[in-house]
Symmetry: C2
Subunit: 73 residues, 2 copies
């Protein structure tokens, strides 16, 4: 899998997280607190910078009130 495809996967994931967070009127800080993650890390996820782990995907899904599978394309 080439670097461009990896970037696309991370960007798409981040866009989905941002859309769901905004639809719930949550700040990055609020989501970070719910997840137990740093706010800056959540910001990086939304910008498509982070290759986060299975566990953190589930943490985010719980914070956003969705099934983890809904965060992935």
């Amino acid at each position: 899998m080439d670097a461009a495809r990896q970037d696309e996967i991370k960007r798409r994931f981040g866009t989905r997280v941002r859309e769901l967070r905004k639809a719930r009127n949550l700040s990055q800080e609020a989501v970070a607190l719910r997840c137990g993650l740093d706010r800056s890390y959540v910001g990086g996820i939304e910008r498509g910078e982070n290759n986060l782990s299975l566990i953190n995907i589930h943490r985010l899904a719980e914070a956003l009130g969705v099934e983890a599978g809904e965060l992935l394309g």
Copy 2:
């Protein structure tokens, strides 16, 4: 999120990967080759030992011919 819940997430993911792999009559070696991952790493995923990354979740999904979201509960 406590350790028991993290273990449950990893075990459930691994069980799903194993089910899909066997349904396709693929060996761990074949999946590992398709993913560009080590066979032992794929074995660890199936045993629920690995907290794999977003990119590797997508690599596995491509190797198994499913959408990445289908691998998560």
